[in-house]
């Protein structure tokens, strides 16, 4: 089943003095259970593409579909609904709310969607155990280490069982040990829950965890390579 399909998408930022063409005609497609890494030099448009894929931003041109939904057809509220039900996010700077405890941070997406509190808290407990944070549930983010924060952010990203996880340099701010731990977790989630992951990174080791690596340059896809020996459905990437 296709989770994400991107067809000839472009993004031009017109905010500044000269328009910046950050994404210049990218097409790709992710099936359920795919784990794809985006690589490329700084400024090549990775983050921009992730924002588009995560329904955080609208493309200047091209088509984006997440599962059955055509993003162009959705208004802001519908996009919000889509995000909170089908997509999870992990970022370089953790982005936990400093005023909420770890448990409250993790349950946030469910509660925002109007979900049940006790169920959410039970699930947060399970996820915390899985990411090794059970003893930290009552703490505030600033009392945690970087690695712990990122793991909390991952728990928050998957508590609502999203179809697609968007991760923008999730290991960028971590030491290699913690980075490896986060990567392991991503791999586990991908394998065990068939979670579809789209990840942007600078690090080759990070990218190695993915099944497929897409290299970008100047807003375009430069090459696609498959890392795992396992036979996967042929990636449909158009350059």
């Amino acid at each position: 089943m296709i989770i994400l399909s991107v067809e000839d998408v472009r993004k031009t930022y017109v905010g500044g003095e000269t328009p910046v063409e950050a994404v210049r005609g990218v097409s790709l497609s992710l099936a359920a259970g795919d784990f794809v890494a985006l690589m490329g030099p700084s400024g090549c448009g990775k983050s921009s593409l992730l924002h588009l894929c995560g329904a955080m931003d609208r493309p200047t041109a091209g088509r984006l579909r997440i599962e059955t939904a055509d993003l162009a057809q959705l208004n802001d509220d519908q996009l919000t609904k889509l995000r909170r039900e089908r997509i999870g996010f992990v970022f370089q700077f953790f982005n936990l709310l400093p005023t909420l405890t770890v448990r409250e941070n993790i349950t946030l997406p469910v509660l925002l969607a109007g979900g049940d509190v006790t169920a959410a808290e039970r699930r947060a407990g399970e996820l915390a155990e899985r990411v090794g944070l059970t003893h930290r549930l009552r703490h505030y983010p600033q009392q945690l280490s970087g690695g712990e924060m990122q793991r909390a952010a991952m728990a928050r990203a998957i508590i609502h069982e999203p179809a697609l996880l968007i991760a923008d340099e999730p290991t960028g701010n971590l030491d290699s040990e913690n980075g490896a731990r986060v990567l392991n977790l991503l791999g586990e989630l991908n394998r065990e829950l068939q979670l579809t992951i789209l990840l942007a990174t600078h690090g080759a080791e990070t990218a190695a965890a993915a099944q497929r690596i897409i290299r970008m340059r100047d807003g375009k896809i430069a090459s696609v390579e498959t890392t795992s020996a396992i036979e996967e459905p042929t990636p449909r990437a158009f350059v």
Partner: protein, 862 residues
């Protein structure tokens, strides 16, 4: 300077809304202080100016101990002429009825014109008809008793001509008068802005029912330089019962009388300024907090601590200069409203005041800036000093958006407790010079105590609020509560400012509510007569308008009247100020009246005390007299009578809420013995059982016909009138309060807006993990409402404490009234709801801004 432009000015320009709100806050604060200043000045200055213009070249005046003195005494004062020119004077207020049936007040001077011209400049207007020598015209005034001279300004305004007939009402009597001349706009003609009339002495005596009496002798010294010596010499030679004084003395007496009223208004006006200063403090601290890293960079680049301090003080200064300038303008505008609001009270309770605030003068500019700028700098000094302490390394720490959590330290609880203890001590100190200085110190200590308690309350809310808020408002409630708990250092100031204003409002509401209850009770107990009569021109107790003997006769002769208590009062000098000396018929009072006695207690004991005064040198005094002059039952007070100083025993102290100046009342018999037969200034009428008050009123009015202008209140309408005056007295109080609260809510809104802009990233994350715009909006509005709720709960609690100080300390020391403490629960509930709504509404704009933030950029950009 360049640094200032780059670093502060641009920042202020960027933060337009917050800068504007701050400027507006200071402007309103300064404006309120100025407006009250001008209003107070207008009532006293109006009075003093009238004295001055009427006084002309008068250097000394001889006054009697009672209401004026017998003109026969003048014969024995021939020696006065060796000191200078002497002129006997009658002065009073009359009403003129104009063609369109409206009437206006006139200040009337009755003099012996030919003699008086050496004291005052009268210039008759010379026009075609009045080519004749002015001396002849002045003599014409003498020839006809019903002649009057008006001023040029007045005649022009009302299109009156010489020879025309106008209707003048003196006390209760309306008579036609002929305009015989017009005074040029000079000298005394400027009195009361031209509402001035000149009469012959004899006509004035007749018109005011003062036959054979004069109000005073004005003296113009030959050698004005010898004023002090002459005053002393004259004082020595004057017989008992006469006094010499300078005209300005009357002004200072009035000033003293109004002092407490003005002091309280002034104190109240400073609340608004205080809140405005909170806003400056708030703005500067926010800019220091949010720009720590920038300050660090500046320091790293070589800016000294002094430079940083100067920068932030300059920020405050810039805001304050604009605020004060605007405040000057606003103040002028507000003063018109304030004069209107206070006029009823001042007129009803004290003096006929000028109805216009003074024009803007340098002195006001001086007040605005002399007060606004230093206080603003002081308010900004604390955060500016904090800015100066920022280390250069603050720049390096980089993304320190993970603010350290607020920790509840002991001082957040100990300091407020210390202040409350201080307040307790202050509250027990006596008045200073008749002004409740310590009372206000106590109030101030309570207010600051409350302000310093706010962080602790916010902390407690953060701890305990999660569960109930989550249940009430779902996840948005939890987020709002967490946001506030995380921002305690930043929101404390604005919450405290709002709490302070609200506590003042609560306190004042409780005080007024209690006072009103007390007055209503008093009115119901003591105002038991069926009809109350007064001459039409008697607008306040100070107006010396007496009834015509004919009116008194008609009333006593009416078959339905069981008793008519003839009451007379006028102001006498006592203890450096003015008190009211009154006289009534104690036998009638004992039989029909229902005074409430403070001492001796009990209605029967009170009646016995009244009875004991009859035929004795004994008086009863009002509670405010007893408190002001620290006297009690059994004490002996000394009064100056026309027969010299006499002592009177105080037989009872009674409750009275009609005036705060202190009242001494003696029986008619006693009064007559020392002051001569009194003419009544008011009549209290008790009807026979079964008589219909309204019918009797109609009947009396019919008998008075058009000759006599008498106001007759029935029991119901006098009660209404008392409460109307009461309510109007406090109208200004509420107006001042509303402004202070408005300014405080402004503070909450700007703080919230700043918080939102600071929290952009967090809000973006929220949006990312699934919050829609509506949820973000709801969260911010709840935050605003929570700030309002905390403010109101602290405000209401502290307000109750404050009201105790107001009622039992400040009121007692400045007015001398006993007020029964009552909590107006209805008002508290209503105002709480209103404040909650108002603050929540003030959160709408920040909420909209928050919900419109773009999601993608904020998260990624560091």
């Amino acid at each position: 300077m360049r640094l200032f432009r780059q670093f502060i000015w641009r920042h202020l320009a960027q933060e337009k809304l917050r800068s504007c709100a701050t400027v507006l806050g200071i402007a309103l604060g300064v404006a309120v202080v100025l407006a009250i200043q001008m209003t107070n000045a207008s009532s006293v200055r109006g009075f003093e100016k009238a004295i001055e213009t009427v006084a002309g070249k008068t250097s000394l005046e001889i006054v009697g101990a009672g209401a004026g003195f017998d003109e026969l005494l003048i014969k024995d004062l021939g020696w006065l002429r060796t000191y200078g020119q002497v002129s006997p004077v009658i002065e009073g207020d009359a009403e003129i009825t104009l063609a369109d049936k409206r009437s206006e007040s006139l200040r009337v001077l009755g003099v012996d014109i030919l003699r008086d011209r050496s004291l005052r400049d009268y210039q008759l207007r010379a026009n075609a008809e009045t080519q004749t020598a002015s001396a002849r015209q002045f003599l014409q005034l003498l020839s006809d008793a019903r002649s009057v001279i008006l001023t040029e300004k007045f005649t022009r305004k009302h299109k009156l001509n010489i020879g025309q007939t106008v209707e003048l009402t003196f006390a209760d009597k309306a008579e036609p008068y002929t305009v015989r001349g017009v005074l040029k706009d000079e000298g005394p003609a400027r009195t009361m802005d031209g509402n001035f009339a000149l009469l012959d002495l004899a006509s004035a005596q007749w018109a005011f029912h003062r036959l054979g009496r004069i109000d005073r002798l004005d003296v113009r010294l030959k050698d004005a330089a010898q004023l002090a010596a002459a005053e002393r010499a004259i004082a020595e030679r004057l017989p008992a019962g006469l006094r010499v004084q300078r005209p300005a003395r009357r002004g200072s007496q009035v000033e003293k009388m109004l002092a407490a009223f003005h002091f309280n208004l002034t104190a109240l006006s400073y609340i608004a300024l205080l809140v405005g200063l909170f806003l400056i403090y708030n703005t500067v601290s926010i800019s220091v907090i949010t720009r720590r890293a920038e300050i660090g960079t500046l320091r790293a680049l070589g800016a000294t601590r002094g430079t940083v301090l100067a920068l932030f003080l300059a920020e405050a200064l810039a805001l304050a200069v604009i605020g004060c300038s605007l405040g000057l303008l606003f103040g002028r505008v507000l003063s018109f409203g304030a004069v209107k609001l206070t006029a009823t009270t001042v007129n009803a309770l004290y003096i006929a005041a000028a109805a216009e605030p003074p024009p803007l003068a340098w002195q006001h500019v001086w007040i605005a800036f002399g007060l606004g700028l230093p206080l603003s700098l002081l308010a900004a000094a604390v955060p500016a000093l904090e800015a100066a302490r920022v280390a250069p390394t603050a720049a390096m720490r980089g993304s320190d958006h993970l603010i350290s959590r607020f920790r509840l330290r002991a001082r957040y609880v100990v300091l407020p407790l210390c202040l409350l203890a201080a307040a307790w001590w202050f509250a027990r100190q006596p008045a200073v010079n008749g002004l409740p200085a310590f009372g206000y110190a106590s109030a101030l200590a309570i207010v600051f105590g409350a302000a310093f308690l706010v962080p602790a309350v916010l902390f407690a809310l953060g701890r305990l609020g999660d569960k109930p808020l989550f249940r009430l408002f779902k996840i948005e409630g939890r987020l709002a509560n967490a946001n506030l708990a995380g921002a305690i250092p930043r929101i404390s100031i604005s919450v405290a400012a709002l709490a302070v204003s609200l506590s003042m409002m609560t306190a004042i509401a409780v005080m007024i509510g209690s006072f009103r209850e007390t007055v209503v009770y008093w009115v119901n107990q003591t105002l038991v007569a069926d009809l109350y009569l007064r001459p039409a021109t008697r607008h306040n107790v100070a107006t010396d308008a007496v009834f015509s003997p004919e009116v008194e006769r008609i009333v006593s002769a009416h078959p339905a009247v069981a008793a008519a208590d003839r009451f007379r009062n006028f102001d006498i000098a006592y203890g450096g100020g003015l008190v009211t000396l009154g006289t009534g018929e104690f036998a009638k009072q004992e039989a029909h009246g229902h005074l409430l006695f403070k001492a001796p207690t009990g209605a029967e004991a009170g009646k016995a005390a009244i009875r004991s005064c009859i035929g004795q040198d004994a008086v009863i005094v009002s509670e405010s007299f007893a408190l002001k002059y620290a006297t009690q039952v059994g004490d002996v007070i000394s009064l100056t009578t026309p027969q010299g100083d006499r002592t009177f025993r105080i037989a009872a102290v009674y409750y009275d809420y009609s005036s705060d100046r202190g009242i001494i009342v003696m029986d008619r018999g006693t009064f007559t013995k020392y002051f001569g037969e009194p003419q009544a200034t008011s009549l209290t009428v008790y009807l026979r059982p079964g008589a219909d008050a309204d019918a009797v009123r109609e009947d009396l009015l019919r008998q008075f016909g058009s000759n006599y202008r008498v106001l007759i209140y029935t029991n119901a309408s006098i009660r209404q009138e008392v409460l109307r005056i009461f309510d109007s007295t406090f109208a200004i109080t509420y107006a001042l309060e509303v402004i202070a609260i408005f300014v405080a809510i402004l503070g909450v809104a700007t703080t919230l807006l700043t918080l939102i802009l600071e929290r952009k990233r967090e809000i973006a994350v929220l949006r990312l993990v699934g919050a829609d715009r509506r949820q973000v909006r709801k969260m911010v509005v709840i935050e605003a409402g929570l700030m309002g709720a905390v403010s109101q709960s602290v405000g209401a609690g502290v307000g109750l404490l404050l009201s105790l100080v107001l009622i039992y300390v400040i009121n007692v020391q400045s007015f001398g009234w006993t007020i029964q403490f009552r909590v107006p629960w209805g008002f508290l509930a209503q105002s709480s709801l209103l404040i909650l709504l108002a603050t929540a509404l003030s959160g709408l704009y920040p909420a909209r801004r928050a919900s419109q933030l773009q999601t993608a950029e904020e998260v990624v950009e560091e």
